[in-house]
Symmetry: C2
Subunit: 80 residues, 2 copies
Amino acid sequence: MKWKVRVTVRLKEGLNDPEGRVIGNALRSLGYTVENLRVPKYFEFELESDKPEEEVEGMCKKLLANPLIHDYEYSIEPVS
Amino acid sequence: MKWKVRVTVRLKEGLNDPEGRVIGNALRSLGYTVENLRVPKYFEFELESDKPEEEVEGMCKKLLANPLIHDYEYSIEPVS
């Protein structure tokens, strides 16, 4: 069966996000009142699998996230 | 009023996403049947504003996206 998967990988709370800081500063310099801008990694893909949750967990642990510094979450929905 | 904003910036359909291709290949080499892996840009932040939609549109057009190559979408919800 085929699934649409979306994975979001965030730096753990308290870790520095330099890219986010730069973009936040740029938006503030344009006059916007922006706070706590973060730039998580975000992946979208289709997966052919009979056990999608197990496989997506495996992908996160093996490749997409580093558990030392990242938290991750995902959504999995069937492709019609 | 304060808002939680999430902006997703995707390369337009048909444009090459080299980072996505590399990650897709890596996942396939681990044995996963993955297709069409894309790595959109994703931003999360808090915004203090009386006209959040107008301001987020402005941010996308001025800084977060390049309308020549990107499509973007966003969600805006009140922070309690």
